[in-house]
């Protein structure tokens, strides 16, 4: 550049998702370098792209840094209790099946205190999209180990290092039958947005794990560095492999040579959860009344 005068600043008067944020609640409480804001943005972009009217989107969260998302997005939003976002959201999704329900919460909220609800919501294949922001620790309480914290990692509750193996969340959720399972880091903003959109459009349970830097809680005690440095680690180590064997996609952020596998791992079409309607079940065999009676008679004979 050769110009010597002041460069004309390019200032956007309006951000494309401004209308979808509760501007009167900003600035948010998140730390510099945190990845939750990026994830929230990806959610809102997917929401716009979904074509579903904004009034028909519902956001539910639990407790924690990620759980605060519900308080910033300008849709009907519910900030429930710690771990209970999924059953709370189930109540909405089952009662009003025409609504597009998204749960945005953290790894500790969804997989530790809410772990039982996670496996059951995935097993049932409840029609909702779950964005699980994994920052490898409990951030809101100031950096303690959780079920995703890598072994040996230091934290407020593990001054001598984590002693237990962390969850491999895509493997877990796939094992119980979720219709859609993906993992991205916040560096993969486009792919993440696309996955969220696929989740919203997919009947059944969609689970998207989002790896997010937490320079305050996880980065500092573990020499990971600032948010940008954790992002550089994702850049260097993430390998996109949609066909990865999910039992092999464990993450160890503290082992420099280990790859972090990301991708859209699972896309299946198991029927989404639908409670009984009280109507007589459709006969899968096209059985007639006669054959039903016949079977009943056979059953009696036994």
């Amino acid at each position: 550049m050769t110009t010597t005068g002041p460069t004309a600043a390019i200032v956007a008067k309006k951000h494309p998702v401004d209308d979808l944020l509760r501007a009167d609640r900003l600035p948010h409480i998140l730390c510099p370098g945190c990845g939750i804001g990026t994830t929230m943005h990806c959610y809102l972009e997917a929401l716009v792209e979904s074509g579903v009217h904004v009034d028909k989107h519902v956001c539910v969260s639990g407790i924690g840094c990620s759980g605060r998302t519900a308080g910033y997005v300008k849709v009907d939003s519910y900030h429930s209790t710690h771990g209970r976002a999924l059953p709370f959201a189930l109540g909405i999704a089952v009662y009003r099946p025409e609504l597009t329900v998204t749960v945005i919460s953290g790894d500790g909220d969804l997989s530790s205190i809410g772990g039982n609800h996670l496996i059951h919501a995935a097993r049932r294949n409840v029609n909702m999209t779950v964005i699980c922001i994994n920052n490898f620790n409990y951030g809101m309480t100031g950096g303690q180990a959780g079920p995703t914290t890598p072994m040996t990692a230091k934290s407020g509750t593990t001054p001598y290092g984590v002693a237990d193996k962390p969850f491999n969340l895509p493997h877990l959720v796939n094992a119980v039958g979720a219709n859609f399972v993906a993992r991205w880091s916040v560096l993969h903003a486009r792919q993440l947005k696309d996955s969220i959109l696929r989740g919203m459009r997919k009947p059944g349970f969609a689970f998207i794990e989002v790896l997010s830097p937490c320079p305050t809680g996880f980065g500092r005690p573990n020499d990971v560095g600032e948010g940008i440095e954790e992002m550089l680690k994702y850049h260097r180590r993430c390998k996109w492999d949609d066909k990865a064997r999910l039992e092999d996609v464990d993450i160890d952020m503290l082992r420099p040579d280990s790859p972090v596998i990301v991708g859209n791992f699972v896309d299946r079409d198991r029927p989404a959860f639908c409670p009984a309607t009280g109507a007589p079940p459709a006969s899968p065999t096209g059985a007639t009344e006669e054959s039903t009676k016949e079977r009943a008679a056979m059953k009696d004979a036994h």
């Binding site: 959201a89 009984a276 009280g278």
Partner: protein
């Protein structure tokens, strides 16, 4: 043998008007149906399982949603979510499950999401006596979740009341936007008696208070109360873009994490029930006009107490029964009134716990309050109560 085609089940009406011989748990479920319940989430637990099973069968027949959840933590969360989306929602449980629900009963109180929780009390604490009667969850209903808040709790004393009070519970929940408990006990839940179900047109219905302003009107504040201290409620999917949180919040529903909004909110949550106590409280008076001994008893124990009062009267002892139908709010005003009348010389409080309602009576009077307690597993007999009356 039925000639009905298996592909055409009989249309089962929501309100099964008529005279029935029905168990308390079933009557409770039928009461919920008559009240318009359209979402149930629950987990089987003795002695409330019949409520759950009966609704599993009946609710889908009338277009409602029944979900068996993974535990009681999930059950209560699901009914709050469904209610936030507009449902009349219900769960049913017993002591151990009731304990698990305490967390989100606090959430329902804080978010002001109406819902009904049936607790069929068994011997406790802990796993206690799963199939034996208890009445020891009365304080838990009021104080079980952390912090100050207020709830409404009804104590049916017959299957008929299981039906009637479950309807009442839904109406009160919607009117005041609170979690409402129906505190049955194992004896009442498993007792079979005559239950009269009136025609649908005679079922009392109090609608939930809804916003009068349209979505998008900046004047609408989700937590701005009316004069009755209850804010109108918008539902998910209506365009109001509401935010609900268990955090302390302001009139917009936004987190407001400081002392002043907290003071305002928590006081209102308690006051909205306190100032309406006279409208909410229900009790039954039996032979109180000239009573010198007043027996205060609820649930199945009130049935023994009524018999004991009759036995005492036959001996010429002027006894009467005050039966709290609402445990919470407690019929404090009525007891104070009876004390002020100057006739009563003593109270007798029989209950299947070690003195929960007794403490409520004791703190209102200097008169003797005789205790007739048992920990659980069996009813208190009329003779035992009579002994305390004539002592």
């Amino acid at each position: 043998m039925s000639t009905q085609s298996p592909s055409k089940p009989a249309a089962t009406p929501r309100v099964r008007a008529g005279v029935h011989f029905m168990g308390g748990d079933f009557a409770c479920a039928e009461g919920a149906l008559a009240a318009g319940v359209d979402f149930f989430a629950g987990y089987p637990i003795t002695p409330s399982t019949e409520v759950c099973e009966h609704l599993a069968q009946r609710l889908p027949q009338v277009g409602g949603k029944f979900v068996q959840m993974e535990d009681e933590l999930a059950s209560i969360a699901a009914i709050i979510g469904a209610s936030a989306a507009g449902a009349r929602s219900l769960t049913a449980t017993s002591g151990p499950g009731f304990s698990l629900m305490m967390e989100n009963i606090g959430l329902a109180a804080m978010m002001e999401v109406p819902c009904v929780i049936v607790d069929v009390m068994r011997g406790s604490p802990s796993t206690g006596l799963p199939t034996g009667v208890g009445q020891a969850d009365i304080y838990q209903a009021r104080w079980g979740s952390h912090g100050d808040y207020a709830v409404i709790a009804y104590c049916p004393s017959s299957p008929q009341e299981c039906f009637d009070l479950t309807i009442q519970a839904f109406n009160a929940a919607d009117k005041y936007r609170v979690p409402v408990m129906v505190m049955m006990d194992e004896v009442i839940g498993h007792m079979t008696e005559k239950v009269v179900i009136p025609p649908a047109s005679e079922i009392p219905f109090t609608p939930r208070k809804r916003p009068s302003l349209p979505p998008g009107d900046s004047e609408y504040l989700p937590y701005m109360p009316d004069d009755d201290l209850v804010p109108p409620m918008a539902h998910a999917g209506e365009g109001y873009k509401i935010h609900m949180t268990g955090l302390t919040h302001d009139e917009r529903g936004y987190p407001a994490l400081s002392a002043e909004p907290h003071e305002k909110l928590v006081n209102r949550l308690v006051d909205k029930i306190r100032v309406h106590a006279a409208d909410i409280v229900m009790h039954e008076d039996f032979l109180l006009d000239d009573a010198e001994t007043i027996v205060v008893a609820f649930g199945c124990t009130a049935r023994s107490a009524r018999a004991a009062v009759n036995l005492a009267r036959r001996q010429g002892v002027r006894a009467g029964l005050l039966r709290p139908i609402t445990a919470w709010p407690f019929p404090t005003a009525r007891i104070k009134e009876l004390i002020a009348a100057g006739q009563v010389k003593q109270f007798v409080v029989p209950e299947i716990n070690l003195g929960q309602v007794r403490r409520e009576v004791e703190r209102l009077t200097q008169l003797p309050v005789r205790r007739v307690h048992r920990a659980g597993g069996a009813m208190i007999t009329p003779e035992t109560i009579l002994e305390a009356i004539v002592q």
